[in-house]
């Protein structure tokens, strides 16, 4: 009995309960709906909720817990001795699952019947051959106990599924009975329904918290695993990044941190003056026509995904800089470099800085400008000596947020900055960043539980904390600044 059918049945029950509940409410008042406390639909809705919600929770909980519990029981039955070298419980469990699936398929293909399966004796017949016909390939000979475990797993899963089915449906019917009985003309069905909806809304807002908790917890957990394998002090202080497939890697964050900060610095050097001056011009000097065309044009830059900038850096900016600057000046020979990625990232950040600055400059009250003009100051003097100093905290906040975005950016540096971890001053050198290494270590071929892979979580945690601190600082500065004018 598949999950889909169960959900379908539940759906029908819910719908049926809705109509029955509504009918009962209305019939209780001789079909004069005005005598009811709430609209008839609320009575129906109440019944529907009582049917669907508890059953849904039971279904979810069961589906989540069932595999875990069954696997625990099955795995305890497999003798230690049968776990071959080089594997462990998890791998064996994976084999069990695959064998069970294969048996399902073999049965479906018609080559085997349930009776045959029960009688199947691994000492006599070849389990591997049987499974091969069903399309399951295994690494070695199938151990008898593993095969038995697979059979056991199948049967237990099937019966557990049946029990779940019964439980869920009975909970649904129980809910129906409870709700149906409570229907009366004075019953405040609407309040019940609205209370449930309110809890739904609260649950939705919890998702934000859960996400943050999830991010921190997942990274902390794996980073902790990593630091069990690799000394934490060395991670934060070693200037060498050299992961080796076979072990013995040196995993120091310093070269990556340097690359990140260097690229972000170049990006900000490009973006901040350009964005700030563009914002100043567009809000203080530009006429309505120029503002109407230039502002959307700059906003388009903001909507372009970072992969586009990455490709632009890789195929256009990189070769251009290499051919016209790096080679002639003898500074480098690579089209991937800090300055390539920094330039592309800077262009990406221009609209970010520009629109934030624009908001901040417009927030400076007009009467300050009037006071300055009335004293005979030119517009540029007013901007330089009155408006910008007044807007300075906000602009600092905007720069910090821009830095935070630059530090967290991935695709531009993956495609534009290269993969070699270096501590170099030459901007035409290829230098990699934290984000690039997170991607490369997590998508590489190393085993998951090795330090080379888990280091990505430590890197991610560092990145997260860094950007979080920058964001908090930026928001604090901007908030303090807003208080000045309110």
């Amino acid at each position: 009995m598949s999950l889909g059918i169960l959900i379908l049945i539940l759906g029908f029950l819910t719908l049926g309960g809705f109509f029955l509940g509504r009918l009962r409410a209305v019939s209780m008042v001789d079909y004069d709906a005005r005598k009811l406390h709430s609209l008839p639909n609320f009575y129906g809705g109440m019944v529907a909720i009582f049917i669907a919600l508890p059953a849904f929770f039971v279904l979810c909980a069961w589906t989540l817990l069932q595999p875990v519990l069954i696997e625990q029981r099955v795995i305890s039955n497999i003798a230690i001795v049968d776990i071959t070298e080089g594997s462990n419980r998890t791998l064996v469990m994976a084999d069990v699952r695959r064998i069970a699936e294969g048996l399902d398929r073999a049965l479906a293909l018609g080559g085997l019947s349930e009776q045959d399966l029960l009688k199947f004796d691994t000492t006599q017949s070849d389990a591997n051959a049987l499974l091969a016909t069903a399309g399951v390939a295994l690494g070695g000979e199938v151990q008898p106990s593993v095969f038995d475990a697979a059979r056991h797993y199948r049967l237990t899963s099937k019966s557990a599924q049946l029990v779940m089915f019964v439980c869920v449906l009975s909970v649904a019917l129980l809910g129906f009975a409870l709700a149906y009985r409570r229907i009366s003309a004075q019953m405040r069905a609407r309040n019940v329904v609205e209370a449930v909806v309110l809890w739904g809304l609260v649950a939705a807002s919890m998702v934000a918290i859960l996400t943050t908790v999830g991010i921190i917890a997942s990274m902390l957990f794996e980073a902790y695993n990593f630091f069990k394998m690799y000394p934490i002090l060395e991670f934060f202080t070693s200037p060498v990044w050299n992961p080796q497939f076979s072990g013995g890697s040196e995993l120091g964050i310093l070269p990556l941190l340097w690359g990140t900060l260097y690229v972000s610095f170049v990006a900000l050097v490009v973006a901040v003056p350009t964005g700030l001056f563009a914002a100043i011009y567009l809000s203080e000097y530009a006429g309505p026509k120029l503002r109407a065309t230039a502002k959307p044009a700059i906003e388009i830059l903001a909507g372009i995904p970072s992969i586009v900038y990455g490709l632009f850096a890789l195929v256009t900016i990189g070769p251009m800089l290499r051919d016209y600057f790096a080679r002639p000046l003898g500074l480098g020979d690579s089209s991937s470099s800090v300055i390539t990625a920094g330039l592309a990232m800077g262009i990406m950040l221009i609209p970010f800085i520009s629109s934030l600055s624009d908001d901040i400059i417009n927030a400076v009250p007009q009467n300050l400008r009037d006071g300055s003009y009335a004293l005979g100051a030119t517009q540029s003097e007013t901007i330089r000596q009155v408006v910008l100093p007044a807007a300075l905290p906000g602009i600092v906040g905007a720069v910090l947020m821009g830095a935070s975005r630059a530090i967290g950016e991935t695709m531009i540096v993956v495609l534009g900055a290269g993969a070699s971890a270096k501590l170099s001053i030459n901007p035409f050198d290829a230098m990699t960043t934290i984000t690039v290494k997170i991607v490369s270590q997590l998508t590489g071929d190393t085993e998951f539980n090795s330090p080379e892979t888990l280091v990505a979580f430590a890197l991610g945690l560092t990145l997260f904390v860094f950007t979080l601190l920058l964001n908090i600082a930026a928001l604090a500065i901007v908030r303090k600044y807003r208080e000045q004018y309110e």
Binding site: P365, N367, L368, G371, L375, G376, A377, A390, Q484
Partner: protein, 265 residues
């Protein structure tokens, strides 16, 4: 009208400082000011009175070309400062505004120190050649604005921390620091409490010995207290202009009388 105080100081110089002829102002299609003719005298306090929206602030802002900053504002007519047409092409508004200062309705000190607020004007116009000179200008301006004694110990404190009345006097000091000859004041006391108002009114009276002051005010009593000449605006027209005493006791135009007696406005 018995509780109005008439100031009977001698008006020392009767020279024409600003002469306006046939001034009209359009905000886009809106004909905000119609045919204003008025002469502002030197070393005199001239008050512009009238109900809300009658154009008095608009006309005030024409006198230092602050209306230039408003898009869609068009000015027709002749305004002469010391005989020179201020709307001529050769005139740089920057220099005009060094000569004609303005104080606004809501005090607008810059978020800088008290010293820097007052020093801002002289600095950009290059009026001082040394720090000592600048200090002197700042002190003189603050003294003339009757603020020196209250702030002399905290010149480098933030100007935002002053009270409303102090802030407005600071703005006056700031306007004076550029050495103007005319001071325009757009309802300078309307955002202040009565005590601060009294202080500023006293200050205006002292200022008149050095500057030509034009003050826009909502309060007839204030106009009567501080000014020697009064101009009554109504619906974009300058209805009557003359000696303050005369306007308030024996107005020539029936509209003026209606406003004075409170029937309109």
């Amino acid at each position: 009208m018995n509780n109005m105080i008439f100031l009977e100081r001698n008006v020392q110089v009767e020279k024409n400082k600003i002469a306006a002829q046939g001034v009209q102002v359009f905000y886009g299609e809106n004909h905000a000011l119609k045919d204003v003719n008025v002469d502002i005298l030197d070393k005199t306090v001239t008050a512009f009175i009238g109900p809300s929206g009658c154009g008095k602030s608009t006309f005030l802002r024409c006198l230092n070309r602050m209306n230039d900053t408003i898009a869609g504002c068009r000015i027709v007519g002749d305004i002469r400062l010391d005989g020179e047409d201020i709307y001529e092409a050769a005139v740089d508004p920057v220099q005009l505004r060094a000569k004609v200062g303005m104080v606004f309705q809501k005090p607008n000190p810059f978020p800088k120190s008290i010293y820097d607020n007052v020093a801002y004007g002289p600095k950009i116009h290059g009026l001082s050649r040394s720090k000592a000179e600048l200090d002197e200008i700042v002190e003189t301006s603050l003294r003339r604005a009757a603020l020196w004694n209250e702030v002399k110990d905290r010149l480098h404190a933030g100007a935002i921390g002053l009270s409303g009345g102090q802030q407005q006097r600071l703005c006056i000091a700031r306007a004076i620091a550029t050495g103007p000859e005319v001071l325009l004041m757009d309802e300078p006391c309307s955002a202040l409490d009565p005590i601060a108002t009294a202080q500023v009114e006293q200050l205006i009276d002292e200022l008149r010995s050095r500057y030509s002051v034009v003050i826009v005010t909502h309060s007839m009593q204030q106009a009567a207290r501080v000014s020697q000449r009064t101009a009554f605006f109504h619906m974009g027209n300058l209805v009557e202009y003359g000696e303050t005493g005369h306007i308030f006791t024996n107005p020539s135009d029936p509209r003026t009388e209606s406003y004075i007696t409170g029937r309109i406005g």
